[in-house]
């Protein structure tokens, strides 16, 4: 089970995610804006962070950069209900931009409980992928 940070300025989303993740056995902290989230990073060692891409205080892409400046190895899951920064923007998809900025993956709102829990399981996915790679390497060494 993972220690997870949720950064979302919509308190209802943060509360619902925290409730679901705690029910699934994870431990969580919620930051209601990017600044609170960045401060929480100093207080605890998280395995994973869910980060909203549109927040009033800091742009989500800048938030990813600031988080990785503090914790380079923290896995980040970007979240948004927006596709673009604004309807008139010609920029790339916001979640793709988040991925390019360093997020491991993205969730488009509204997302389901299953999608949320799959994303929260990212740390385990990574560990099992590494174990499989090691097992294949060991197998190759013997053959």
């Amino acid at each position: 089970m993972s220690h997870i940070l949720i950064i979302d300025n919509d308190r209802s989303v943060g509360a619902a995610m925290e409730y679901m993740l705690r029910n699934a056995g994870h431990t969580c902290a919620v930051g209601s804006d990017a600044q609170a989230g960045l401060e929480a990073l100093d207080k605890s060692g998280f395995d994973l962070a869910f980060v909203d891409m549109v927040m009033p205080d800091i742009d989500g892409l800048a938030a990813i950069k600031r988080i990785h400046e503090k914790k380079p190895d923290l896995l980040i899951v970007a979240m948004t209900g927006y596709r673009l920064h604004s309807a008139a923007a010609l920029s790339a998809d916001l979640l793709e931009a988040a991925e390019a900025a360093g997020a491991a993956c993205g969730l488009r709102k509204p997302f389901s409980q299953k999608e949320l829990l799959s994303a929260a399981n990212l740390v385990n996915v990574l560990e099992s992928a590494n174990q499989t790679a090691s097992a294949h390497a060991a197998q190759r060494a013997f053959t």
Binding site: D73, R83, D93, A104, C105, G106, R108, F111, Q113, A119
Partner: protein
């Protein structure tokens, strides 16, 4: 309207009138574009605001339906019906976003989970030249580096991301392409290029 006259100073072919008409036409077009832009901006803002409470609602209802053993029978049915309506609303929200149409490649390229995950049966039906299309642009960059023999640390440095994030992309690529190791990935990438 009678404009053409031997004596009148304004005719249908009067350059001044033609310019004025063109100006009116342009003004109407600019106004229309501005209205359309404002409507798009308003729609995007509304969609974002609606998606937040909708996410919370969906999560709570799915939790209720999932833990039905704790609920009285009548409430179980009510929760199921409420969830059905919330899911219907989600479908409407996704349909309203033209980029999110089911056939859109972009819709499959965001979010690694159910929104873009290709099941093994669907995967086998994917034509060979679209093999790499199921990867996001970032995953394609990671794959390119892997096929060039870059180790996780080296690849991460080249893309300016953390080693762990690079490893996550690598794990997603291997899962999506059903590859067992880097050699499999190289084989798939090469066969896709041919």
């Amino acid at each position: 309207m009678m404009l053409d006259s031997h004596w009148g100073s304004t005719t249908a072919h009067d350059p001044l009138q033609q310019t004025a008409r063109k100006f009116d036409q342009l003004q109407a077009e600019v106004l229309g574009a501005a209205r359309s832009w404002a409507a798009d901006e308003f729609g995007a803002a509304m969609a974002h605001q609606a998606n937040d409470p909708l996410t919370a609602l969906l999560l709570y209802l799915q939790q209720m339906v999932g833990s039905k053993a704790d609920l009285p029978l009548a409430l179980q049915e009510t929760a199921r019906r409420a969830l059905r309506e919330a899911e219907r609303l989600c479908q409407i929200m996704r349909r309203e976003d033209p980029e999110n149409a089911p056939s859109s490649a972009a819709a499959n390229s965001v979010g690694p989970w159910s929104q873009r995950r290709t099941s093994s049966s669907a995967y086998s039906a994917v034509r060979r030249h679209t093999l790499l299309d199921i990867l996001t642009p970032r995953e394609r960059e990671v794959l390119t580096l892997i096929t060039r023999g870059a180790a996780n640390k080296e690849g991460a440095q080249q893309l300016g991301i953390s080693k762990r994030t690079f490893e996550v992309h690598r794990a997603h690529i291997m899962e999506k392409l059903k590859a067992r190791n880097a050699a499999d990935l190289v084989r798939m990438a090469l066969s896709d290029m041919r």
